[in-house]
């Protein structure tokens, strides 16, 4: 690459950065990026609150309980048996109910209900007692990093990747050319002694810098919020012995690749279409129906490669319809190196089309 081209690309990036980062019309992109962070922060706050409550319940109990002790309670036990096994509950609640007698028609019985709350410090046992006998039991398990990492993967794949980054890239990359055509200021670039492909490359890199900064920051904050409420020991085990750190790095890599792939798509769409809704809908549908496409067509999709790179598989819950299961699972994953090259090739094809398009682009604002 000529030295002057790089200098020109840097000049384009300098001009674009302010617009992409501080545009009022791009504020919603920050909201989009912040949403999963807020979700994990809220989850962490609720979890921390629950943990401290469980610890309190355990501390205030008559005796130190284990998980096995909690599991020992079963339906039909009497109140005395429960207290004998677990001690007096530190938190209880009682109330009464008028209920028709099952044996004597027309007779109303006053039934006394008692709810006992036990905890081993992490897991909670809720025992519902009616008329002196255990009627229902519910165990709320402590947050588990393994389980939560699946939830994290779900949020990443189904919200962050398919909606957050997708629409964020739409907002930033489609505006690189379309926004300036609407503002009637694109001619500024086209009147300079610079190849139009260089302008395009500069704008693409500016968009990439903006989206990567926004979404990589969001991804880092999500990871921090996700791990924050776990005990330090559990965090260390997850990060250093259960591939947690590796997964976090992969998520960041996938985020960058998603910005590259969708960015390239929306760059060309911004040059070809006046209305962003049409290409956005078309690409969203194309990405959405990817699992149902023939194998050859499946390769011309960003999500196909990104799904293959995601480190945690999301299991389909039992009873899931086959169509939904197909959406969730990745039936035909490709090897990570192929997936990375695949995204880059798809992006390069889109950028090549963009370069052809930018050469043909005319300044005719009145037609917009």
């Amino acid at each position: 690459m000529k030295k002057i081209w790089w200098a020109q690309i840097k000049a384009v990036i300098r001009l674009e950065m302010k617009k992409t980062f501080f545009a009022k019309r791009g504020l919603w992109i920050y909201v989009l990026a912040a949403m999963p962070v807020m979700l994990f922060v809220a989850y962490a706050i609720v979890s921390s609150h629950q943990q401290s409550r469980s610890a309190n319940i355990a501390r205030q109990g008559e005796r130190q309980l284990s998980y096995q002790d909690l599991r020992a309670v079963h339906s039909g036990m009497t109140t005395e048996e429960v207290i004998a096994a677990l001690g007096k509950p530190s938190a209880s609640f009682d109330w009464s109910e008028n209920r028709p007698s099952p044996t004597k028609p027309g007779v109303i019985l006053n039934v006394l209900h008692e709810d006992y709350h036990y905890s081993d410090g992490q897991n909670d046992l809720f025992v519902g007692i009616a008329d002196g006998k255990v009627e229902n039991i519910h165990i709320r398990h402590a947050n588990n990093l393994g389980q939560d990492s699946i939830m994290f993967a779900g949020v990443f794949q189904f919200f962050f990747l398919r909606l957050g980054i997708f629409f964020g890239c739409l907002g930033i990359f489609m505006n690189l050319f379309r926004g300036e055509i609407l503002d009637r200021s694109l001619h500024f670039y086209f009147l300079a002694p610079v190849r139009r492909e260089v302008v395009m490359a500069g704008k693409f890199l500016a968009g990439l810098l903006a989206t990567c900064t926004i979404f990589v920051t969001s991804e880092i904050l999500q990871t921090v919020a996700f791990l924050w409420h776990f005990p330090a020991g559990a965090r260390d085990v997850y990060l250093y012995h259960n591939h947690g750190l590796e997964h976090a790095a992969i998520y960041l890599g996938v985020t960058v690749l998603a910005c590259v792939g969708y960015g390239a798509f929306f760059l060309v769409a911004g040059m070809m279409f006046k209305n962003p809704i049409l290409p956005a809908a078309a690409i969203l549908i194309w990405e959405g129906i990817n699992p149902f496409l023939p194998a050859v067509l499946r390769h011309f999709s960003v999500i196909y490669y990104l799904k293959s790179l995601c480190p945690v598989d999301i299991p389909s819950p039992p009873g899931t319809s086959p169509i939904f299961a197909l959406l969730v699972s990745n039936a035909d994953p490709v090897a990570p190196p192929i997936a990375i090259v695949g995204v880059l090739v798809v992006a390069l094809i889109a950028l090549y089309v963009s370069s052809l398009q930018v050469r043909r682009l005319e300044i005719n604002y009145t037609a917009e």
Binding site: Q8, A11, Y189, L191, P193, R195, R360
Partner: protein, 312 residues
């Protein structure tokens, strides 16, 4: 080595709408004015010349460069457009400076050139202010500074005097003249005829997308054979002179000036008229001056097009 701006059978259609049609031009150095009413194709011609729009048919070459090669074309071309919008958030200085940086210049040289251009358009005091707060005239001048900043050989200016006060106008006209005097090509568009009449070396008259005449104003005028030439003669014996002139078959009409110290004559053959004038001068009628009365752009334009849209 080509030293002209060449249009070869160039047409531009915006869908069904005609921009310009079958334009053939060869523009030499100096100040060339594109004149025509709104919608006549002036801006289209300028946008074609600078590659902002592509011809539907035909070929355009600016000196040695194709319009498909902006990287080299804009090293020699500066274009001040009519588009009154700027990249957001830039000051006047940043606007010119960024343009130069886009061209690949280093920071120091871009800064020097930007200030020089801003000085040339007398906008130094406002250079650090945001362009969004500029008046129309200031925006016009900063666009001009941008077009001039890299010292181009070809300067294309779309309605460059719009929005300028009389003082700024005369400054800008002086600037165009000095630029043209250095051997540059200054292409100016205007629908205000008297504006370009005094500064143009040649004119290109446009109407409804067609070039209806081109060349030096006087030459264009003489090409309009079917339209009589009007000549104003100042003398002390206008009636005698009128009687003598009417003896010549090429004289169509003579009217005595209201101050009785001259006459306005219409002839269908200017060359024969001047020969006749020599004979009459020898016959003893004292003639003070003889001057064409209709070789300004306005007259030519009216003869050619009969347009009433032209702003006088």
């Amino acid at each position: 080595m080509n030293d002209r701006i060449i249009f070869e059978d160039v047409s531009k259609f915006y869908g069904e709408i005609l921009g310009v049609n079958r334009v053939n031009l060869s523009i030499p150095p100096g100040i060339t004015s594109l004149v025509g009413p709104n919608g006549s194709g002036k801006t289209t011609l300028m946008n074609l010349m600078t590659g902002l729009v592509r011809p539907t048919r035909g070929r355009i070459q600016v000196l040695d460069y194709s319009i498909d090669d902006p990287e080299n074309l804009f090293k020699i071309v500066g274009y001040s457009t009519q588009f009154d919008s700027f990249p957001k958030g830039l000051t006047g200085f940043q606007f010119v400076y960024s343009y130069l940086r886009l061209g690949g210049r280093d920071s120091q040289s871009a800064e020097q050139l930007a200030w020089r251009a801003i000085e040339r358009v007398n906008l130094v005091d406002a250079a650090k202010r945001n362009v969004a707060g500029y008046s129309k005239g200031m925006r016009q001048r900063i666009r001009l500074a941008q077009a001039l900043s890299h010292e181009p050989k070809v300067l294309v200016l779309d309605e460059p005097l719009n929005g300028l006060d009389p003082l700024a106008r005369s400054e800008m006209i002086a600037l165009f003249r000095s630029t043209a005097a250095q051997g540059c090509y200054v292409i100016i568009s205007s629908h205000i005829l008297h504006e370009v009449d005094v500064i143009s070396d040649q004119v290109i008259l446009l109407s409804n997308g067609y070039v209806v005449a081109e060349g030096k104003i006087q030459n264009v005028r003489s090409e309009i054979q079917e339209h009589p030439t009007q000549i104003l003669i100042r003398c002390h014996q206008p009636r005698e002179l009128a009687a003598k002139m009417l003896e010549y078959p090429h004289t169509i009409e003579v009217s005595i000036h209201k101050d009785e110290r001259g006459l306005l004559l219409k002839t269908r053959d200017a060359d024969r008229f001047y020969l006749a004038m020599n004979e009459i001068a020898l016959s003893g009628i004292d003639i003070e001056s003889v001057a064409p009365a209709d070789d300004d752009v306005l007259s030519v334009y009216e003869y050619l097009i009969g347009s009433e849209e032209v702003v006088r």
